[in-house]
Every structure is written in C-alpha cells, then in structure tokens.
Symmetry: C2
Subunit: 219 residues, 2 copies
C-alpha cells in the first residue's frame, strides 16, 4: 500500500489537478447542483486552491459544462466514427446516450444539467454551442446537406426529451424501460432525422443520403 | 362603459372566481414561476381571499397544474376526437402542441412548467399523473394494445423534448423553425410511436393498428 499523502495543498501535475477538479465537480454538481456549488467548496473537495479552478477552467459554468461534455463525449466519437459496421446511426446514438447517462449517478447528472440549464443563461449558451457546433460538425461530416442544422436540432429534441422523461420526470414506462426497448423504439426516429427525407423540410434541395447511414426504411 | 367596481373583496359567482384565479395564476406562474408565487400574491392578483384559492383548487401546486392542463387540454380533445378526417394523428398532435405553447407568453409558460417540474416533486407527480392516466386513457381508447403505456411514454419524450429545445434552451434551428416544418418533421415520429409496429417493443403480441391512425408507412 502507498503511504498516505498529507492532506491540504499537495504538489500535482497539471493533468492530475484537472482530473481531481473534474471528478470533484462531477460529484458536487450531481449532488447539489451548479448553483449550490461554490468555487470554494469545489476547490476544497478537489484539494486545490480556488485560483487553480479558474486557471484551468475559466469559470464555474465552463467547468460544469466540461464535466457534462465528458459524460457525453467519448461515445460520440464511436457513434460518429466513419465506416462503422454495426447497426444504424440512430440506434448507436440512443444506445450511447443511455449508456452514459444511465451510468452517472442514477440520472442525477442529467437532472443537474437540466436544472443548471433552467437557471443559468451561461450554461444554456454552452449547451447551445455544444449542440450547434460540436455535434453539428460531426453530423455535417457524415451527412452534409443544407438542412443539417435542422436535423441536428430534431435529434436534440428527441434525446433531451428522452433524458427529461427518464431521469427528471421519471415517467414510469420510460424510466422503467430497458435500454434495448428504448433503442429499438427511438433509434429509427434519430436515423430518420439524420438521414431519411423529411417531408417538407425547411430547405428542400438535397441529394439522396440514406445510403451511408443505414438500411433503407423498414416497411 | 360599466361603472368601475370597488376594489378589494367583491361578490362573484363561483365560475367568475375560478376564472379570475386561473387567469391571474397563469400570468404569475409564467412571469415569476411557481416557487416565487405566494398564495397571498395570487389571491391579491385575482382579487379574492387566499382561502378561496385553496377552496377551489386545493393547493398552489394543483392550481399550477390546472393552469398548465388548461393550456394543453382543449386541443387534446380535437387531436383525439374519433373519426377525424384530416391528416395523421402525429401531425395533429404536434400542431396542437405548438399552437398552444407558442401562443402562451412566448414559451415562458412551458419554461415555468419545466422549472416547476424540476424543483417541485408534487408538480412532477401531477405531470406524471396527467400523462400516465389522462393522456393514456385517450390514447388507449384510440389504439388499445398492451404496450399503450410505452407508446404514450415515447410520445411524451418527443413532445417534452420539442418544448425544451424550443422554449427553454432556445436551440436556434428548433426555436426558429416554422410550426409547419416541425409538424412535417416530427409528426411522423409521433404517428409511428402511436400506431406503427415498434421493432422489439417490450410487449409483442399486438394486432395490426396502423389503420385507424392514418396512411400506411411512407417509403
């Protein structure tokens, strides 16, 4: 066993410090929410000086969003990885969404995100930015087309609503459903939003694009 | 012009009183939210005694939910009315949803509902009750089947997410889209959740049910 390190400020690498801050923040945000988490409490939980939190993350809101993005991001990579063989993109995305959020604090992380989004304009802004540029860029690289913004927006409505029903309202048939049942039911919605023709979409001139995203529509 | 009535407590019919309370509540809840609205402020805005608010509505939470339901309810009647000729059920439902919430305080009413749902367990309970029994009953009368709970839950995820993206987060492509574009894009999702076979739904034995709800699946 390693010798226990002394408590208080202790030397750490930059990577260690960032990780310590992120882990402590993840716990505090999920437990008490963004608004109730002070910079001081955050720094104390991470065992660092408050100035380091600002140094590495800029603001409490940005740190909050970093933590949320870390929750969502890694599987995004695999969902949008090109030439991935298995299944349709919609099913992969719903599965990745559920695997991430189901795992984190029994849905409390998603609640924390929604609560912060409700009360904090800066968080709303970061969330918009994440969807409208981060996610959009990945989707655009896969499907192109002039209505990609609208399509990404549609995907966001369905996934945010899934999270809201499952983790916040705890709507019984959604909170109690198996990930598999939700993937099977909601996956095709996402696939259609990303790849199938949308009747009377706001921008019409598009080429066929169902090809790269999966099988043709099932009957 | 009618003679102005004296301010303060004034005799009203029960119907007048209920309406006055509902109207005042709708304004206050949308402006400052459920938690910031005191029973006393509510009664003052409605020009009635606080005891009357409790007499007619039981609790502040129940009044809040009555107001929200009044926002949603009337068009539900027409959406679920049997033998209605025009369009598919999904398109009618998305259109009714947008017509209602777009009209009320520029989306602030929906925000108030979400905020209250986040912070108040009693409101969450009433919201669950509304979806799991009110809406469920209407849907069950139309489509039957053993998986009606799951289907209603799926519809709730899509509509709550639409409201969240359009009225709370103000995601540009969703907040800026015309109702028509959203109806065309999201309507078929709802129709599928309510009437089309869901691959690997949690309960499988069902008869065909696309018939009463609209056209067969488009290619």
């Amino acid at each position: 066993m390693a010798t226990p390190r002394p408590r208080g400020r202790r030397p750490k690498s930059a990577g260690d410090t960032r990780t310590a801050i992120r882990v402590a923040a993840g716990r505090l945000f999920a437990d008490v929410g963004l608004d109730q988490t002070s910079l001081r409490a955050l720094a104390r939980a991470a065992g660092v000086d408050p100035s380091l939190v600002l140094h590495y993350f800029g603001s409490k809101e940005r740190l909050f969003f970093e933590v949320m993005r870390a929750t969502m991001a890694p599987d995004m990579e695999s969902v949008f990885a090109p030439s991935r063989g298995r299944g349709e993109i919609g099913e992969r995305l719903v599965e990745a969404f559920l695997m991430r959020w189901d795992a984190v604090g029994d849905g409390s992380a998603f609640s924390a995100l929604v609560r912060a989004g409700m009360t904090n304009e800066r968080v709303r802004e970061l969330l918009r930015e994440f969807i409208e540029s981060d996610i959009r860029r990945r989707v655009a690289a896969r499907i192109g087309g002039s209505d990609v913004d609208f399509r990404v927006g549609l995907v966001a409505t369905q996934l945010m609503g899934l999270g809201f029903a499952r983790y916040v309202v705890h709507l019984r048939p959604v909170a109690g459903a198996s990930p598999g049942a939700l993937v099977a039911a909601i996956g095709p919605t996402i696939t259609r939003y990303l790849g199938r023709p949308l009747a009377a979409a706001p921008h019409t001139p598009r080429g066929p694009r169902a090809g790269p995203l999966g099988r043709p529509p099932s009957p």
